[in-house]
Symmetry: none
Subunit: 242 residues, 4 copies
C-alpha cells in the first residue's frame, strides 16, 4: 500500500525506484538493505521514499507485490487455453526460467520471504503468489483428468504441490548461491550454468512430471529418452506427446 504520492509519479521514475529497490532488496535482503542505498541508486532523496511509502516494510511489500505481478504476467501470458496440460506446464516452466534468468531479483525476493525473521512478509505475500498457481495447476489437472490425458486416480492437490515444488526448486537453483551450488554438485556441473545444463535438467523435470501424470504406462511405450540429450533443441519436448 504505497501512498498516493507514489502512484502519481511519472512512470519512468516509479520504474527507476522499483527497479532499484527490487535489485537492492534482492541482493542484500530486507534487513541488510539501507534505504539510503536504494534512494541513491534510484537517484532520489531518501526522504522522498518516505513520501511514497509508510515505512521500509511497506516499501518492501510493495516491491514484492510488484514482482509477483511481473512474474505472473511474464509466465502466464501467451498460453492458449486449448493446449493440453503437458504443453501448458512446459510453457510455464520455460517462461519461468526465462523470466528468472532475465530478472533474477524477483525470485530472490520470493525466496527471501521464506527465511527467518520474514514471517510477517510471508503472512502478507505468500498466499498472493501461491494461490494463483495452485488454482491454475489444479484446474489443469482436473481438466487433464476429464480429457483423459491425466491419470484418473491421481490426487489433484498432491500432484499440483509436487509439480510446483519441482518448479520452485528449479528456478530457485538459478538465482540462489546456495541452491545453485547444490544443483551443480548434484548434476556434476563445473563452471557457470549455461543453457545446455539448464535445458537438460529442465527436460528431466518435465519428464518426471510426465511419468507421474500419464495414465497409461505400458512397458516399452515410454517414448521420451531417459538419458537426456542435451544437444537437442529446447523445442523438442512439447512435440513429443502429439
Amino acid at each position: 500500500m504505497p501512498k498516493e504520492t507514489f502512484n502519481q509519479l511519472p512512470p519512468d521514475k516509479k520504474e527507476r525506484i522499483l527497479k532499484a529497490a527490487a535489485g537492492i532488496f534482492a541482493e542484500r535482503g530486507f534487513a541488510g538493505t539501507d534505504v539510503a542505498q536504494i534512494a541513491a541508486r534510484a537517484g532520489v532523496a531518501k526522504g522522498s521514499l518516505y513520501n511514497y511509502f509508510e515505512s521500509k516494510e511497506d516499501f518492501y511489500l510493495h516491491v514484492c507485490r510488484d514482482g509477483i505481478e511481473r512474474s505472473r504476467a511474464a509466465v502466464y501470458q501467451e498460453i492458449l487455453p486449448d493446449w493440453d496440460i503437458f504443453r501448458q506446464i512446459e510453457h510455464i516452466f520455460r517462461r519461468g526460467v526465462s523470466f528468472v534468468l532475465s530478472h533474477p531479483e524477483y525470485i530472490r525476493l520470493y525466496l527471501n520471504v521464506s527465511s527467518a525473521g520474514m514471517e510477517r512478509f510471508a503472512d502478507n505475500l505468500t498466499l498472493e503468489v501461491e494461490k494463483h498457481t495452485a488454482d491454475y495447476l489444479k484446474g489443469l489437472l482436473r481438466e487433464g483428468i476429464s480429457r483423459g490425458t491425466v491419470r484418473r486416480d491421481i490426487d489433484v492437490n498432491l500432484a499440483a504441490f509436487l509439480i510446483n515444488s519441482l518448479y520452485v526448486v528449479f528456478v530457485v537453483s538459478l538465482i540462489s548461491r546456495h541452491f545453485q551450488i547444490r544443483m551443480k554438485e548434484y548434476l556434476g556441473i563445473e563452471g557457470a550454468l549455461n543453457e545446455h545444463t539448464i535445458e537438460g535438467s529442465l527436460r528431466a523435470v518435465l519428464e518426471m512430471i510426465h511419468d507421474v501424470l500419464r495414465p497409461m504406462r505400458v512397458a516399452g511405450q515410454n517414448k521420451m529418452p531417459r538419458r537426456i540429450d542435451l544437444t537437442q533443441s529446447s523445442q523438442g519436448t512439447q512435440r513429443k506427446d502429439k
Copy 2:
C-alpha cells in the same frame, strides 16, 4: 573454525551455547540476531563468545556446521546397508521429517543460507551439506541400477537431484512460514499441520519417486494406491515392493 578455547569448554557449556545460538540464529536470521541475546540465553557473557569465535560470522558458521552434523547423524543412522534404495530413501525421508519436527532450528539455518546476503555462508557450507547427500543418493541409485531395482536408462545425477529436491521442499514446508502456508494452500489444509497430513503428503512424494525410478511399469502393476489412505500405518509403504 572456533578458537581453541571453545573446544576446551566443558561439554555442557558448549552444548548450552550451541543450542542457544542455533535457536536464536534460526528464529531471527543472521542479520536479525543480536549476539548479546545468544549470550543471555546461553548464560554466558557476551565477551566470552568472542573468546570462542573470531566473529559473529565465524560463530554462525560453526553453529551451522554443528547443525549439519546433527542432522546427518539423526537421518543416516540405523540404515542397514542391505536395504534396497526405496527402503533407504523412505527411511531418510521419515527420519528427516522426524528430526526437523523435533529440531526445526537446524533446517531453518539451512534454509536461511539460501537467502540474499548469505552467499558467503553458502560458499562455506553448502557443499558440506549437499555433497554427502548427493554422493549417497547417487550411490544408492547406481547400486539400484546394478541390482535391477532401478531403471537402467535413468540419469543418476538428475534422479538424485530430483529426489533431494522433493525432500528439501518437503522438510522446508514444515518449518518455514512461507513454505508452510504454501503447502497448506496446495493441499487444502486448514489449521495446523498434523501427523496425518504430513504422512499423506510424505507418502505421495515417496510414491512419485517410485514411479520415476521403477524399471517396469506395466499397466495394472502399480500397486501403490493413488489416492492416499491416511488411516494406513506409516509402515505400509516400504513393504509394498517386497
Copy 3:
C-alpha cells in the same frame, strides 16, 4: 510579522489557520509541532503557510501575539472605570478563568514560552503581555491609594507583581498537567476540577489579595469568612466590602 499575503486572506481562512496553529502549538509545543499537521488541520497546503509566514518561528510568534490580543480583549472588556480596585481585580480574575477554560490553548502558549529553549520567543513576546497588565495593575493600585481603598505604605510594584503572580499560578493550574496535579494535591481534590473547587480557590486568592491591600486591619473587622463557603454565589465577594 506575517507576510502581506496572510493579511489579504479571507478572514475565515485566517481564522482557520490561527485556530489550527494555536491548538497544535499549544498541545505539542513549538519543537513538537510538525507544520504539516497544522496545515492539515487548517485545510491548507503546507507550502501555503510559508507564503504567509517567514518560518515556523515567525508563525509561532504571530499565533502567540494573536492569542495575547484575544486574551486581553476577553479579560479587560466590560470593565467600568469607576469600579474600585477590588471589583476590577475580581472581574479580571473571573474573566481570565473563564477565558482560559474556554480557550486553554492561548494560556498554554503563554506557559510554553517560559520553558527551556524558548528564550528567543520570550524576548519577543513577554513584554508584550506583561507590560500591559503590569501597568494596569499599578494604575489600579495607585488610584486605590489615592482613593484610600488601598494601604498607603504599600510598594506598588511589588503588590502588582504578587497579585499577578497569584493570577498566573491560578490560571496555569487550569491548563497545565503539571500545575493541575500540583493544585489538586494541595487542595485535596480527587477527580476532575469542577466549578466548585475552582470557585473556592479563586475566592481564597482574592481574599488573600484583600488582606494584603486593605488599609485598615483592626482586629474583629475582618468580615470575610476565612473558611470559604463553596455554596455561596460567585457574586458575593465583591459586595462584601461595600
Copy 4:
C-alpha cells in the same frame, strides 16, 4: 529507573553524566536535546548512555528525579523543628533561592515539565515533588494553628497552596527568561537581577505570607516596613518578629 550499569559507575562519572544531562536538558528542553550532546559534554560515548538508561525519556526522568532530591536536600536541611512556621518558611524560601541561583538547571527541569508535550513526565514526576512540600507546609500550618501563631480560621490546604504558589513564581523568575523579564517589568528593574532586588522582593513575599497567616492584625502592630529597604541585610527579616 536507570539500568544497574549506571549505579555501578564510579561516582565521579555518574556525577559528570548527571551534571551534563541536567545542564543540557535544562538549557534546551527534552525535545531540543540531542543525546549526543550530553554524551559529548560528559565525555562518554553516546552508546554508553544507552547502557545506563533505557531511553532518552528514561534518562530525562532520572535526571529530574535526581534534581528533585538535590533540591530537597538543599532546601530542607538544617531546619530545626522547634522553629516557628514563619522562620521555617523564610528558611525554605531563602535556601530555595540560594539553591536555584547556584543550580538553576534543576528548577528549569521542573518548569519544563509544566509545558506542552511533557504531560507524561508530569504524570511521573509532579507528585514526587509536590506531595512532600504540600505535606510539609500543611503540617507547619496545623502546628502553627495549634500553637496560636497562625489564625484559627484559615483553610490549611488553600494557605499551603498560596504559599507555595508564591514560592514557585519567585524561584521561577530567577531562571526562566520569560518569568525574569516579567518580574523585572513589574519591579521596574533594569539590567541584571542582583542580590538587592532579589532580597527586596523576597521579603515582600514573606511579608505577604505573614499578613495572611497572622492571627492578630491590629492597626499599628505591623512592624515590618511596607516599603522594603533594599539595603537591609538578608538576615534581617527573621529577627523582626521575635
